[in-house]
């Protein structure tokens, strides 16, 4: 096994419906596999839970999008306000009809817009970065049937990096939990 391990990415099983995929993900998770992933053409409610993505501190760390978004909001809001303060009070003070230089209520609209802008940019780019996208190459793309993961089929892949991974066992396991089509995935250029 050891010489093929470098190029073996994992074992992929195909399922017909979101229901069977969730049941299968639960079983794979219960069997103690950690490095596995499910694939669906739309967000299936309950799939993250079935894969155990929400569990424990690891689960919290896995989805840092809300925290990153909050950070972006703070950065945008504070940066937006103090930028205006710096411009209109410190570096370029202008007397506009005798108003105080730090006329903070007038700075609120821009502060608000910058808060939203910061939070949105962090949410989107944070989500992409955590998902490691863009990723032009993925070994799964070499499986012709995997094209239907963005159409009408559901897949589950047990990855070879898992501690418990063994090609024959994983294949048998996937066949045992109702995968219609099971194939090994190779990482080759």
């Amino acid at each position: 096994m050891s010489e093929t391990r470098n190029t073996l990415y994992g074992v992929l099983g195909e399922f017909d419906s979101p229901k069977t995929l969730i049941a299968a993900a639960r079983k794979v998770h219960a069997a103690g596999y950690e490095h596995f992933d499910a694939f669906a053409p739309f967000p299936v409610p309950g799939l993250s839970e079935a894969c155990g993505l929400h569990l424990g501190l690891k689960g919290w760390r896995r989805n840092l999008v809300p925290q990153i978004t909050l950070l972006g909001g703070f950065a945008g809001g504070l940066g937006g306000f103090f930028f205006q303060y710096w411009v209109n009070v410190i570096t370029y003070p202008l007397n506009i009809a005798g108003r105080p230089l730090n006329s903070w209520p007038a700075f609120i609209p821009v502060t608000f817009e910058m808060t939203v802008l910061g939070a949105s940019l962090f949410a989107v780019f944070g989500m992409l970065a955590l998902n490691k996208l863009p990723q032009p190459h993925c070994p799964l793309f070499s499986v012709p049937r995997f094209k239907r993961a963005t159409d009408d089929k559901f897949f589950l892949c047990i990855e070879s990096t898992d501690k418990k991974f063994n090609l024959a066992d994983a294949t048998k396991f996937l066949e045992g939990i109702g995968a219609g089509y099971v194939t090994e995935v190779r990482d080759e250029d």
Binding site: P18, D37, A38, F39, A40, P41, F42, P43, V44, L47, S48, C51, L53, R62, N63, V65, P66, T69, F83, Q84, V87, N88, T91, Y92, L94, I96, R99, S103, A106, F107, P109, V110, F112, E113, M114, V116, L117, A119, S120, L121, A123, V124, M127, L128, L130, N131, L133, P134, Q135, P136, H137, C138, F141, F146, K147, R148, A149, T150, D151, D152
Partner: protein, 460 residues
Amino acid sequence: MSEGPVNSPEIPRLPRVLEPGYNYASVTDKIASIVLTRPVSMGWLAGFSIAFVIMMVLLGSIAWLFIKGVGIWGINIPIGWGFAIVNFVWWIGIGHAGTLISAILFLLNQQWRTSINRFAEAMTLFAVACAAIFPGIHVGRPWMAFYMFPYPSTMGIWPQFRSPLIWDVFAVSTYGTVSALFWFVGLIPDLATLRDRATNKAAQIIYGMLAMGWRGSARHWHRYQSAYLLLAGLATPLVLSVHTVVSFDFAVGIVPGWHTTIFPPYFVAGAIYSGFAMVLTIAIPLRKAYGLEDFITMRHLENMAKVMLATGLIVAYGYFMEFFLALYSGNKFDLFLVEQRLHGPYSHYYFALILCNILTPQLLWIRKVRTNVAALFIMSLVINTGMWLERFVIVVISLTRDFNPGAWGRYQATFWDYSTFIGTLGLFVGLLFLFVRGLPAISIAEMRELVAHKSHEGHE
């Protein structure tokens, strides 16, 4: 979905949000085929060509403007704003319905948003693009339009952040950016679908690059869904703030007819009103041309008509309050402005506005009108015209009749005013034509979700 009263015998069952008989594959096939396999039709070619010619009118008008200056327009002191600002406010307002549908109805978990959100968001982007042209070319020296942004200039000067006009720069640019992000995030799964279904090498490469390696992984969906939800939550107050800030351009000034606190809510309602009208103007020909009646059903059209009726009534309340507050305050300049609206040189615009925005939409109380596609299409055009007239009335009547009779004036739009405005219509329609052929006009991933939801419910 509340099923109780809907199924009771005396109330007819609501039309469905998706006609029965669709599965994941057929939904994908139907929407993706419009982009990938359908040959270019004569209708598309003719429509795009006309839009392209009108777009050239816009380019020609702007070129002439750059050569001669803003004097080719009808603006002159005291009316410095004219068509450019009327069009800017009108276009920005139209964009609002797209964000409302995609963000607010998403947070409210309204299933009927699914098949209309994608092209409504595209409409938002194109409308913001058309709107952003106007302040840029209206500044007189457009090659210095970048002065509006704070940047470390060698002259050491900075913008003045107490001015609503600079708030507007931030509001509109944030709105454009966030709308584009929201739209693109929603598109990622569909771009992956197009990548996997495309048979042509160029299409595979282009969609493949845009999809960024999306493969529907549960881990990816997990984060994707929280990002999408957060974006919807951020876009909701943003969309309300944008037209609020646009209304500050008027309301913070002391000009009679502008200086009122009713402006922000009534501008936001007006924006949603005109935006839904524009969504209907686009949806009705789109569903007909591409046979999407099963996806964009009568339920969608009727719901949009109801939103128009509701926001139209808020707008009517705004018009009423402007009059009431002028009378109640006893402010003679406000009272004079009311008189000018009713009897002044532009009173026919005001009466046309009342006809388009308040009287005609009352027909929407009648169910037969709400379910008549042709009537809705005409109604949407009438409301769009009415909302344009509203901005004309606000800008022109107030500026031509302020405090001192010595500062009164008249405004007459010129050929170039009209050609620039009509040109942006060409740009808008042209971009929509390209969008329909280049990207899925309906969100495929969300339609699959709807199919899954329906089959889970067990009926259909």
